[in-house]
């Protein structure tokens, strides 16, 4: 029987190892799997490479994971955000590595990683410092850079609804990176606001088919990052 439901976030993240690459869904707080991230802080795996569009805000969620010294390298498009307290300091003091990737290239690299595409060409970043050291190639008169697919050992994601097969739907723009990250990770762990019965999600409406998902954890009332940041909360 296929049952991807796991009892707790702690159980879900238990297999993450030191040195693993972890994709974390979310664009800012929208779609950020904060309970899973906190479980990863409790778990303690270190020397991680984390892929996320940003670097978190305040001292909870992704920012707390970074502050806790578990992240050796960030791959992201926008490491500065309004409440970015943790990353800038560590970056300036050389305590964390940064691979800066244009947001669309980051998305396409993840999509490629999940789709068995080791490399592709894009116009994005041609003629800019972010293309330096990359293969440049002309197709039909235009220059393109070659970009490599991105994969991860784990993806931590947040969904609105999930069933025991791992089929997922998301809420509005909280969808963002989750569906592509689900395809690019060896193991995809999902906290979902609700777990529903098979068939409750119309097959026409499934956004992430269950094949891409390994573990589902129901977190019915997830914490909201911005609320925690406003309240000055620190994790752990």
């Amino acid at each position: 029987m296929i049952n991807k439901i796991v009892a707790s976030c702690a159980a879900a993240v238990a297999d993450i190892k030191d040195g693993d690459t972890v994709m974390i869904g979310g664009f800012g707080e929208a779609g950020s799997p904060i309970e899973l991230i906190h479980a990863l802080i409790d778990h303690g795996a270190s020397n991680l490479t984390v892929i996320n569009n940003n670097t978190g805000s305040g001292r909870v969620g992704l920012a707390a994971l970074i502050e806790n010294g578990q992240v050796a390298k960030m791959i992201c498009s926008y490491p500065r955000t309004a409440n970015s307290l943790v990353f800038p300091e560590l970056y300036r003091t050389g305590k964390i590595e940064l691979e800066l990737v244009p947001q669309g290239t980051l998305a396409e690299r993840i999509r490629a990683g999940g789709a068995g595409i080791p490399a592709f060409y894009t116009k994005t970043s041609v003629g800019t410092p972010l293309a330096v050291g990359k293969e440049l190639r002309n197709f039909d008169g235009d220059d393109y850079v070659m970009e490599r697919g991105l994969k991860a050992d784990f993806a931590l994601l947040k969904a609105k609804q999930a069933d025991r097969y791992g089929n997922l739907v998301f809420n509005k723009t909280a969808r963002n990176f989750a569906p592509i990250m689900a395809t690019a990770a060896t193991r995809t762990l999902v906290q979902s606001n609700a777990i529903v019965e098979l068939g409750d999600i119309d097959p026409e409406h499934v956004v992430t088919p269950g094949i891409f998902v390994n573990s589902i954890i129901e977190v019915a009332q997830p914490q909201q990052e911005s609320t925690l940041v406003k309240a000055g909360v620190t994790y752990p």
Partner: protein, 241 residues
């Protein structure tokens, strides 16, 4: 400061632009921020698909002439972005690329980041309006980094947008706060894209980027061609008169 809003995400305190001394050289001269947005909005055609950067570009939406139906794209996965939400409509999962709460219109659609940037990279968006730090004679754009050693580099979707969107409009103060030209023979800051800008709306004028060079097509009230030329690092072609 808002003329330096280079990007779709809120700027941190560390942004170099903020470290510049604010001068008031051009106060009360030329178009205001609202007027720049308003001028740009005249050029947003009916039935077009548009991506607006935050800051002044964002204001363009409110000035698009009545009777034109324009669909707004936000690269974090929404086509058909609507107004700011009421208290009741507010959902932290429904935000724009600047991470501010928005709404979705009837006829909107949500999609993931891969699909959203396929829309951008595949030349499907008609117009993108962005801010600038510098624009070159050839339409090169610098709007993501001063290249300062201690800056935290952050690019967001800017490079994808300028590489993929059909038409790139720039709204910017004509000079920096210290009065230095932002329209230059070559950008000195790291590029966002090469030869990508189509038109510049500054507080002083409207400039088209053409193969022949930069063509001034319109002046703000009480601004002369010579006044603009004196504040521009490039010889402008004058298309007025």
């Amino acid at each position: 400061m808002s003329s330096n809003l280079i990007n779709k995400e809120p700027m941190s305190k560390a942004t170099p632009a903020k470290q510049q001394t604010a001068l008031s050289q051009e106060k009360n001269i030329g178009w205001s921020r609202e007027q720049m947005a308003q001028r740009c909005a005249q050029d947003i055609e009916d039935s077009s698909y548009v991506n607006l950067g935050i800051g002044i570009p964002e204001k363009v939406a409110q000035y698009v002439p009545e009777g034109r139906e324009v669909i707004y794209h936000t690269e974090n996965g929404l086509l058909g972005m609507g107004n700011a939400p009421t208290e009741e409509e507010l959902d932290p999962d429904l935000i724009n690329a600047g991470k501010k709460p928005v709404t979705a219109i009837a006829g909107a659609s949500y999609f993931h980041h891969g699909d959203s940037f396929a829309m951008i990279r595949g030349n499907h968006i008609d117009v993108c309006v962005l801010g600038a730090m510098q624009v070159s004679e050839k339409g090169d754009l610098a709007n993501w980094s001063t290249g300062a050693a201690d800056a935290i580099p952050a690019v967001g979707g800017a490079m994808d947008l300028v590489a993929g969107v059909k038409t790139i409009y720039i709204i910017t103060q004509h000079t920096t706060k210290t009065g230095a030209a932002k329209i230059l023979p070559e950008c000195t800051f790291p590029l966002t894209g090469k030869g990508v800008v189509n038109r510049i709306y500054s507080d002083l004028c409207v400039i088209d980027v053409t193969k022949k060079g930069l063509v001034l097509t319109e002046l703000a009230p009480n601004i002369s061609f010579d006044y603009v030329q004196a504040r521009t690092g490039v010889t402008l072609l004058n298309a007025i008169q």
